[in-house]
């Protein structure tokens, strides 16, 4: 499978598909299972300073062509997460996702993830349904730069920055990440959304506002990666609505060095990674590509 090897800045992965944050990655055993199912790496659940039960149920439902969620970043807190990481990092590359409300908090959390053996950290600057965190800090280019810089000063491992599509200044934010020394950009997180139940005359989810993911967001994600490719030269990791190898190829050809997926696990099962790996190999064979890198950004040419 050497043709599937990819590099994102300083780190390389044997397989290009990575488990997106928040899907099957809250416990050590789960992350191990995903690595054994064909994923090249796993991004952990976004972890904060303290245990957080997240938003109350209902916080998830399927919608046509995807799903919505407002989990509210449930996690056991960074200290308890040490145990999960200890189990997971023995099996393969784990990228530690963190969220915070200040540059100092991000730096501290990232430092702990590095101590736990994460091969990189991913800053969640893009959760659309957690007040005071995520998207609220991630749509201000100056704030983004300050956070990235603080984390870069605190850790040696690569710093990935996950961005939201809920903005018209994505390229400016991307440039801020690059200028602050960020090692890679991950795009996209979920789109801000809502579902209302007419019979009750009320929004379905307890948090009302939620994030949309899955098949329906792919064209938006591909466009976001396309725009970022035109704006920055650091690597981009594409995510949003990838269900099969052709979806993954769209992201790669828009400029992504690797890709992540989450919602597809719902309908395709955990072996979706293995299926995509086989699909990519067959495609590369048929179309004469020797590596993922050779295909990266070709749509721009």
């Amino acid at each position: 499978m050497s043709g599937l090897k990819v590099t994102v800045g300083k780190i390389s992965f044997d397989r290009p598909g990575i488990v997106a944050s928040g899907i099957m990655d809250e416990t050590g055993d789960t992350m191990v299972r995903m690595l054994r199912s064909g994923a090249g790496a796993v991004v952990s659940k976004s972890v904060g300073s303290n245990p957080n039960p997240g938003h109350r149920n209902p916080n998830f439902t399927e919608v046509p062509c995807g799903c919505i969620n407002a989990m509210g970043l449930p996690n056991p807190g960074i200290d308890a997460f040490a145990e999960e990481m200890e189990v997971a990092v023995k099996e393969g590359p784990i990228i530690g996702s963190v969220y915070g409300s200040s540059p100092g908090e991000f730096a501290e959390l990232a430092g702990k993830m590095e101590d736990y053996g994460a091969c990189a950290v991913e800053l969640n600057l893009s959760c659309p349904h957690a007040k005071g965190y995520g998207m609220e800090v991630g749509t201000d280019p100056k704030m983004v730069g300050t956070i990235v810089k603080a984390v870069k000063d605190a850790v040696k491992v690569p710093v990935w920055v996950k961005l939201t599509p809920n903005t018209h200044i994505l390229q400016d934010i991307g440039r801020s990440v690059e200028e602050a020394g960020g090692d890679a950009i991950v795009a996209i997180n979920t789109l801000k959304a809502m579902v209302i139940v007419p019979e009750f005359g009320k929004p379905l989810l307890s948090n009302k506002v939620c994030g949309l993911s899955g098949k329906c967001i792919k064209p938006i994600g591909v466009r976001a990666v396309w725009d970022l490719h035109n704006a920055v030269s650091i690597p981009i990791v594409g995510v949003g609505g990838i269900y099969d190898h052709r979806d993954a190829l769209e992201y790669i050809m828009a400029g992504a060095s690797a890709f992540q997926l989450g919602s597809a696990v719902l309908t395709e099962g955990v072996d979706v990674f293995e299926k995509i790996n086989r699909g990519l190999e067959a495609f590369m064979e048929e179309y004469g590509y020797g590596s993922i890198e050779e295909m990266r950004g070709v749509a721009h040419e």
């Binding site: 099957m24 809250e26 416990t27 055993d29 449930p74 056991p76 308890a80 719902l266």
Partner: protein, 255 residues
Amino acid sequence: MSEAIVTVKSIEQTNKYSKTIRFDWDAEAKPGQFIMVWCPGMDEIPLSLSSVDDEKSITFKVIGPDTEALASKSVGDKLRIRGPYGNGYDLSSKRILVVGGGIGIAPITPVLKCKDVDAVFAARDAGEVAYADPLGKEYCKNHWICTDDGSMGEHCNAVEMVKKVLAEHEYDEIIACGPEVMLFFLLKYLNEIGMKCQFSLERYMKCGAGVCGACMCDEHRVCKDGPVFTGEQINKMKDFGTGRRDACGTFVSYR
């Protein structure tokens, strides 16, 4: 899976502690599968189907705010449900003994209607188990009742009852649903005698659909890979009988 707004057709007191809500919903479902139930005024919760025909039902023990909210529903009220989720029981073994403990009796009763099986109904007292007696009479060749306080049937626990039954009857597989302590000691015994089994497990659920990772028991998603697991699988689970994850994902030990 599908989602639906269903209308409460009837709501009745099933036993001293539980209520049953019936509603029409033509989704295909198997015994052992569950749905996520919600309406304004409560959090969404997982409940097993206690009937899997076109007229479906949920039977729940009133133990907290959400089951209380459901218990206060009246005929004509609406519920928003999604599912059915999970794998359900594999009923391919020939001679099956079904074991329901406490509130675990209700979700296992649809099995009685799908297949000729014998059953053990175990509960705290007569108030909790009496409703199962007519079901046993109607659908099973043999059924046994036991209570912790001796107020109905044999005066013993579920595991002791199963031991007595197995001394006199032969089965190919045991299918059980009930509190984890009951399942823990039942599995221990079934391992000793080398009996095949399937148990339905419970963990804290959020998405119910196999994406969020809230309901993990070791590396298994109870909502999607389960809730029914084989004895072989459960024997390898270090979380089984040991502890479970709370809403934060923190592991909470039973002891």
